[in-house]
């Protein structure tokens, strides 16, 4: 479904395929360029190479349309308004996901300041998931979560994968990588990736 060929950004140079309904784990030491790679696929930084979704080049569509289908979710999400609800076009659509990720149901009216780091991370995930993107680029989506919340996130993403979404999941947790990924892409300091089967 997602084809990345000859993607170049700074020292990174990678090619790989991602099938529909597949979740691959992205691993590698800190600072090796995992975030850069995910941001480049989402076209958030200038980069070279051909990235296609179902054979369609990303340059063939406006960047916002591409990012609604190939959505990058940052490890430390940003917030552009004061309250939670202002970050959602339809809060009702988000509510089932809010419940499932064990977030307080009445948090819509909360100021962002009131949320803990873990709550913000899960809420940012909800904010991205309501777009129903075809490809999710998750940058350490459970780094600030306790075990129970992390499990809730893993099961929610697994459901999305069953429904046909493709996911690249960057993680430092080897056990999590094996749990969520059907393959592991291991990034080395040279900016290349090697594939490992789990």
């Amino acid at each position: 479904m997602l084809t990345v060929s000859g993607l170049k950004r700074l020292h990174i140079c990678v090619s790989f395929d991602l099938r529909g309904g597949e979740c691959v784990a992205l691993q590698g030491p800190s600072g090796v360029g995992k975030t850069l790679l995910l941001r480049s696929i989402a076209d958030l930084d200038p980069n070279e190479g051909a990235v296609k979704l179902d054979g369609k080049l990303r340059e063939s569509m406006p960047a916002p349309a591409w990012r609604k289908q190939v959505t990058y979710l940052a490890a430390e999400p940003g917030w552009w308004s004061d309250t939670v609800r202002e970050h959602f076009t339809a809060w009702d659509d988000a509510l089932p996901l809010v419940k499932r990720l064990r977030l307080p149901e009445d948090c819509a009216s909360w100021p962002i300041q009131r949320l803990s780091t873990g709550e913000r991370q899960r809420l940012a995930l909800v904010r991205g998931l309501v777009l129903q993107s075809r490809v999710l680029l998750l940058d350490e989506p459970t780094s600030a979560l306790d075990a129970a919340s992390a499990a809730a996130v893993e099961s929610l993403i697994a459901d999305r994968v069953k429904q046909g979404a493709s996911v690249i999941w960057s993680t430092h947790d080897d056990a999590q990588a094996r749990r969520v990924g059907s393959r592991i892409l291991r990034m080395s300091t040279g900016g290349r990736i090697e594939e490992e089967l789990t």
Binding site: A42, D43, L44, D45, P46, P62, A63, P64, A65, R67, K68, T71, Y72, L73, A74, E76, P77, G78, W79, W80, S81, A124, R127, G128, L131
Partner: protein, 266 residues
Amino acid sequence: MTYIPLAYGDLILPALLVVMDGVLSLVLHLKLERQLAVATVRMVVQLVLVGYVLTFLFAAVSPLWTALAAFVMVLFASREIVARQKRRLPGIWSYGLGASCTLLAAGSVTMFALLTELRPDPWYHPRYALPLLGMILGNTMTGISLGLDVLITGLVRERSAIEACLALGGTRYQAVLPVVRDALRSGFTPIMNSMAAIGLVSLPGMMTGQILAGVAPVDAAKYQLLIMFLIAGGTGLGTLAAVLGGARLLTDQRHRLRLDRVSSGG
């Protein structure tokens, strides 16, 4: 109209006040005396020079010389805008954006006043065109430099919020809108504050000048109102153009935030 003309000799006594400032700086070890001396000399030279330049221009009443003088004024204004930025726009744009926006805003508002209300003969008469342009330029410049400074600082500070919006499929216009609003608000604030305080706290320089020159206070007030309206319009236009232009330069066609284009100034 009657006014009391000054000879150069009449300035010696008042100038002693600046010398007093210098002595204070020396006695209190403020280390300002060098700076004070340079500023004073600059002021004297610049003002006397501009007096002679204007005398020449008023005698010539040439569209070419007037345009050249206006151009030099815009150049100095854009230099001042750049000097006031903590972080700068890329390459030629660091000067270009400020210069083109001040020129656009101050120029069009000055023309508007000359052609509709003041109507001097000829319309480009430097006695009207240059002082008007100067006053509008100074205020427009303040609006533009404040607006740009808040814009660039805001884009850097709000980077994660802007990129979150972009990553979720927002356009660059949606993503930078909160920062653009802040920048416009900052650019407009000084002129609104001075409009509110004018006459109560401060008597504007031009009105004071006209009163000293013997113009009836109510007539001077009318002139000042005209100038203030022009300044408000010029600041609005210039700040809007500069902030929108800056926001466009720091994003790209693929709706990315391009902070790599910002360089930090001195």
